[in-house]
C-alpha cells in the first residue's frame, strides 16, 4: 500500500483548516479507509482538541523525530470512525516550527504511507516555515478559503506558491458559505470566487451552527451525520475517493422547504 498525502492549507488563518482536516479524515474512515490526520502546526496544537482526543495524547511527532518514541506510539487511535481506521498524529504544543524540517516531514509520511490509505496534514496558514513543512510531503493540496475578500486574496497568493513549488494544481474548499446571504447579494458566490481564482473546487461547506457545538464537544460533525456541513464533508471524502459526486452551489431553502423540513 502507498497512501496519499493531502495537505490542507490556506492563505489566511482561522478559515477552517483544522475543522476540515478533522472532518474529511473522519469521513474517509467512516467510508472504510485507513487514515492518519497529522497536526502540522507545531506550537499551536489544536487538531487533538477539535477531534476530542486531547486526553489520550502521550507522545507527539517531535518526540518521534528526536528519538524518544516509535512512530506507532505517537499515533492516537480514534475508535469512533468504524469501519475504517482513524489515527491522530499530534504535534508538540511547547516547541516552535524549527523542531521539525521539511525532510523529516517527508520521512514521517514515507513511514506512514506504507500502512495507511490517506494522510491528511493540517497545515499552518501560508508562507511561514510551518507551511513549507506541511507542503513538502504533499501529493495533493487543498486550499481552504472563506467567501470574503481578504481570505480569497491570500488564497490566490498561496495557490501561486503551491504551483511554484511544483505541488499544484491546488484544489479549493470554500468554507462558511451562507446561501441566504449570497442570494441577498451580501456575500460573494461560488461563481465569483471560481472566476477569480481559476482553481478547481473540491467542496463547498456551508456555514453551520453545528460546527461550534461539535468543536466544543470534540466530536467532528460527520460523526453525527445529517447537518449541512457534515454532508458537505462527506461529499468531499467521496470525491477524494474518486467517486463522481457533482459540486453544486448550496441553495438557500425556500419557506416551503423549511416548513417541510427538507434539507
Amino acid at each position: 500500500m502507498a497512501g496519499t498525502v493531502i495537505t490542507i492549507t490556506s492563505g489566511k488563518g482561522g478559515v477552517g483548516k483544522t475543522t476540515t482536516t478533522a472532518n474529511i479524515g473522519t469521513a474517509l474512515a467512516l467510508l472504510g479507509q485507513k487514515v492518519v490526520v497529522f497536526d502540522g502546526d507545531v506550537g499551536l496544537r489544536n487538531l487533538d482538541i477539535v477531534m476530542g482526543l486531547e486526553n489520550r495524547v502521550v507522545y507527539d511527532v517531535i518526540d518521534f523525530v528526536e528519538g524518544r518514541c516509535r512512530l506507532r506510539q505517537a499515533l492516537v487511535r480514534d475508535k469512533r470512525a468504524a469501519p475504517g481506521e482513524l489515527y491522530l498524529l499530534p504535534t508538540a504544543q511547547t516547541r516552535d516550527k524549527s523542531a521539525i524540517n521539511p525532510r523529516q516531514m517527508v520521512e514521517v509520511c514515507e513511514e506512514l504511507r506504507r500502512d495507511v490509505d490517506y494522510i491528511l496534514i493540517d497545515s499552518p496558514a501560508g508562507i511561514e516555515q510551518g507551511f513549507q513543512n506541511a507542503l513538502a510531503p504533499a501529493d495533493r493540496v487543498f486550499v481552504v478559503t472563506n467567501p470574503e475578500v481578504s481570505s480569497i486574496r491570500d488564497a490566490d497568493r498561496v495557490i501561486g506558491l503551491i504551483e511554484a513549488r511544483g505541488k499544484g494544481p491546488a484544489q479549493l474548499i470554500i468554507n462558511r458559505l451562507s446561501p441566504a446571504r449570497v442570494k441577498k447579494q451580501e456575500m460573494l458566490s461560488v461563481q465569483d470566487i471560481v472566476e477569480v481564482l481559476a482553481t478547481e473546487v473540491i467542496g463547498i461547506v456551508p456555514e453551520d451552527e453545528a460546527i461550534l457545538s461539535s468543536s466544543n464537544r470534540g466530536v467532528p460533525v460527520v460523526l453525527n451525520g445529517k447537518t449541512p456541513a457534515a454532508q458537505a464533508f462527506q461529499d468531499i471524502a467521496r470525491r477524494v475517493l474518486g467517486q463522481d459526486v457533482p459540486v453544486v452551489e448550496p441553495q438557500s431553502l425556500s419557506w416551503w422547504q423549511k416548513l417541510l423540513g427538507i434539507s
Partner: protein, 114 residues
C-alpha cells in the same frame, strides 16, 4: 474566458447594478488581485501615470484630467492599458471628456508565479 474577461475589464468605478455588499466585494477583490498578480502596487501605477503625462505634455496637448492607466487581467496575461485623450482645437474648451484617441496598450507577460 469570456466571463473572466468581463469580470476584469470593469472600470474600478463603473456603476454597479446590484445594491448588496457582494458587488463591492467583487470590485475590491478584482482590484487587489490584479495588482498582486502583476506585482505592481496601485501607488506605482499613479507614479507611472504622472510620468506619462509629463513626457507627453512636452510634445502634444493632452486632456490630463482624463488620462487613465489601468491594469487588466485575463487568463493568460496581465495588461497595462493606457488611455490618453488628446485635446484638439475644436474640442479643447468643451466640458467633460474630449473625444480622444487611445494610445496602443502596452502588453506585459503574466508573472511566472501564477
Amino acid at each position: 474566458m469570456g466571463l473572466i474577461d468581463r469580470f476584469f475589464s470593469n472600470k474600478p468605478n463603473a456603476p454597479s447594478t446590484d445594491t448588496g455588499s457582494a458587488a463591492a466585494a467583487r470590485q475590491r477583490l478584482q482590484f487587489v488581485l490584479v495588482h498582486d498578480r502583476a506585482e505592481i502596487p496601485p501607488a506605482t501605477l499613479n507614479l507611472i501615470k504622472d510620468d506619462i503625462i509629463a513626457v507627453l505634455s512636452r510634445r502634444i496637448r493632452i486632456d490630463r484630467e482624463h488620462v487613465s492607466v489601468q491594469l487588466t487581467y485575463t487568463e493568460n496575461e496581465s495588461r497595462l492599458v493606457v488611455d490618453i485623450p488628446l485635446l484638439t482645437e475644436a474640442l479643447s474648451d468643451a466640458p467633460g471628456r474630449a473625444r480622444g484617441s487611445s494610445a496602443r496598450p502596452a502588453t506585459a507577460p503574466r508573472p511566472s508565479s501564477r
